[in-house]
Structure formats: C-alpha cells, structure tokens
C-alpha cells in the first residue's frame, strides 16, 4: 500500500465511523423527542405501556416521605392537573426539592411509578438567596391576598 492510499483508507474509515456515530445520535434524538411525559399524559394513557418511560413534573409540596428502611423515598409528581405517586430506592440529586421540577425514569406498577432514576430539573432563574427569600415572601403575601378575595366571595 502506498502511503497515499493508506491515508485515504484511514480517512474513509474515519468518515464511516463518524457517519455511524451521527446516525446513532440521530436515532437517540428521534427516540427522545419526548424526553418525559407529564402526569396528565400518563393519566390519558399517552405514555408507553409495559415498558420504562420518564415522568416529569413538580414534586408536590409535603409529599416527600422517607420509609423506615432508610433507602426508599416516596413522593408525588404533579403537573397541578394530575399527579402520580412515585417510589424510589437510591440517592436523590442535590437539587431535588419539594415544589421544584423533577424527571424520573421507571415503570408503572399498580398505579405507583417505581423509579430507577430520579433527576432534578431546575429552572432558568438565577438569583442570590436574599432575592429568592424576597420572592418567596411576596408570593406568600399574594397567596394570602388571593385567599382573602376568594373567601370574601
């Protein structure tokens, strides 16, 4: 083999590997266009039956309960319209919080979503802790005000 031919063979192999990789990535892309389903979609039977899928939503406030065995955690994922109870054995990510976003992978077993992986989905807001406290306070006041209006009706 002449050096020139060897170089061309090497490059053709490189391009082939690259094309294969791109093809695999494209197929992953197509498969994961719906990265997760919302609890409403699951309730409407839009999620795949009989195989693992991901559920995304918010961790319902006050729903996180650690079981006595110390490894199992139960919580409820909600999109405010529908909700799904989740059971998970394992380590939760740092940003897993009540009232915050979560994406969890697993399968439905008798109405309970048995999760094999729990990921935190955080939002795109960045602010110092003091500002976050102020926002929280303002929201609480707003809620109180709305509550009064609704009660007055």
């Amino acid at each position: 083999m002449k050096p020139r031919h060897r170089r061309i063979a090497l490059i053709v192999a490189g391009v082939a590997v690259l094309a294969l990789a791109a093809g695999l990535v494209l197929s992953a892309f197509q498969q994961n266009l719906v990265f997760f389903f919302t609890p409403s979609q699951v309730a409407a039977n839009e999620a795949p039956q009989g195989r693992a899928f991901r559920v995304g939503g918010m961790v319902e406030t006050g729903s996180v309960k650690r079981q006595p065995d110390g490894v199992t955690v139960n919580f409820v994922v909600t999109d405010t319209a529908k909700s799904i109870p989740v059971a998970y054995k394992g380590v939760l990510p740092d940003l897993f919080r009540e009232g915050k976003g979560v994406v969890t992978q697993g399968r439905l077993e008798n109405g309970v979503f048995v999760a094999s992986e729990v990921l935190a989905k955080h939002d795109e807001n960045y602010m110092p802790p003091e500002a976050a406290d102020a926002v929280k306070k303002a929201q609480a006041t707003n809620q109180k005000a709305t509550g009064t209006v609704i009660n007055a009706k």
């Binding site: 061309i8 490189g14 094309a19 791109a22």
Partner: protein, 256 residues
C-alpha cells in the same frame, strides 16, 4: 509591510481588495493580536465578576458559576457554525478563494467550543440534575453539532484539491445549518431536562444583574478569542495553500 498597505488605503478603503488571500494575510496578522489582547483582558474581567462580584445562587449554590463559561461556549459553538456556513456558502456562490479558507479556519475553533460546552455541561449537570448526560433534545443536538464539525474537517482532509475540498465542505456545512435552530429552540419545542434560556431578545434576562454582566463579559471574551484564533489559522491556511506563489516565498524568505 502591512503598515504601508494600510496607509495607502486610508482615503478610499476598498474592502474587496482584501478578498484576495495575499492582501488579507497582512491585515489578519495586524488585527489578530488586538483581538487576542481584548480576549485576555475580557477573560480576566469576566472571571473576576463571575467569581468575586456575582453572588451565590439561591437554588444551586456555587455550582451555577459554571454558567460563565458554559453559556458563552455554547453560544459560540452555534455562532461559529453559522459564520462557517456563511463563508462556505459565499465561497460556493461566488467562487472566492478566501471564503473557503475562512470556513476551514473557523471549523476547529467551533469544534473546540462545542467540546467545552458539552464538557462543562456534564460537569454542571452532575451536581445539579444528578447526571452527567441524558439523551434529551438539547444535549443530543449539541453532540450532533460536534459531529458536524468533525465531519466537515474530515471531509476537507480527505480531498487533496483544496478548491474541491472547499466545495464538498460547503455543501455539508450548509446542510448542517438546520441543526442550529434545532439546538436553540429544542428547549421550547420539546420536553427536555435542560432548562429554558435565561437570556432572550423578547424579555429581560432571568438572572441577577451582576451574574448577567459577568456572563456577557465572558461572551465578548469568547468572541474576541474566536476571532483571533480564526485569523491566525486563516494565515496558516493561506501560507499552506499559496506556498508556491512568489509572494509567500518572498515573505517566508524574509522571516528566516
């Protein structure tokens, strides 16, 4: 040599003159160091703001500070691809030699920025989401961008005749442009683990002012760096492709 050229042009600056590699070579050599210097200063200022002025994030603590390099790198990965496809397209349409060289000069820098965006994204995802990588639409399309850069460079390396290499690369670059809006809008069009954009043209950024300032300074630093690197590389490419011309021989003769 470059200073003499520039002085003569001060009255009527003819941009088209610089469409020839021979004329562009000294111009690129004259302005590249300025962009490199800008980049160095802006990196220092941006990192200072990012680490010492910008406050801790309420949600993520200190790990959010990766944003100061992650977002600029991700933006550059897309901007450089658009610039590369633009020059490749110009070269294809008007058959100008320098355009193809510009496209080739931009590709490696774009690939590096794509790599940095993916790498810093993994190191940011692990402490926040709880995973290095997921195959969601945003991450997957950014990985595809890296393969597009690799494909462009491999294709050009595979073809010996530079003009034909430019043409083949241009077709690939232009087809791949479709991936850029897919990356950018993926977080709006589909369900992704990746959060939405903090900065958009339509609304105010959803970040504290000092955080935003630090990030934008880093964005300009990356712009300046990318321009300097591309200009230096286009000078290499000009020398390599025009090695047999009299002016390059004369220029290199003077150097040694």
């Amino acid at each position: 040599m470059p200073s003499a050229n520039l002085q003569n042009e001060s009255a009527s600056f003819n941009w088209f003159k610089y469409a020839s590699p021979q004329a562009f070579f000294p111009l690129a050599g004259a302005i590249a160091p300025w962009f490199a210097a800008f980049a160095a200063v802006l990196f220092v200022v941006g990192l200072y703001i990012g680490f010492f002025v910008a406050p801790t994030d309420a949600q993520q603590g200190e790990s959010y500070r990766i944003i100061f390099i992650h977002v600029p790198a991700a933006w550059m990965s897309m901007v450089i691809y658009l610039a590369m496809a633009f020059w490749a397209g110009i070269g294809l349409a008007f058959n100008t030699r320098l355009s193809g060289m510009m496209a080739s000069a931009l590709a490696p820098t774009g690939a590096w920025f794509t790599f940095i965006a993916l790498w810093t994204g993994a190191l940011w995802g692990r402490p926040t989401w709880g995973t290095w990588w997921v195959w969601d639409a945003r991450l997957t399309s950014e990985l595809l961008l890296l393969f597009l850069y690799f494909g462009f460079m491999a294709l050009q390396a595979a073809i010996d005749d530079p003009r034909r290499a430019d043409k083949a690369g241009a077709v690939l670059a232009l087809v791949g442009v479709i991936n850029i809006p897919i990356i950018y809008f993926s977080v709006q069009w589909w369900n992704t683990l990746h959060q939405g954009s903090s900065v958009s043209l339509k609304s105010a950024p959803t970040m504290a002012a000092t955080m935003f300032t630090g990030m934008m300074v880093m964005v300009f630093a990356c712009w300046a760096y990318a321009i300097a690197a591309a200009l230096w590389r286009v000078r290499c490419i000009i020398l390599e492709r025009e090695l047999r011309t009299d002016w390059v021989r004369a220029y290199l003769g003077k150097q040694t």
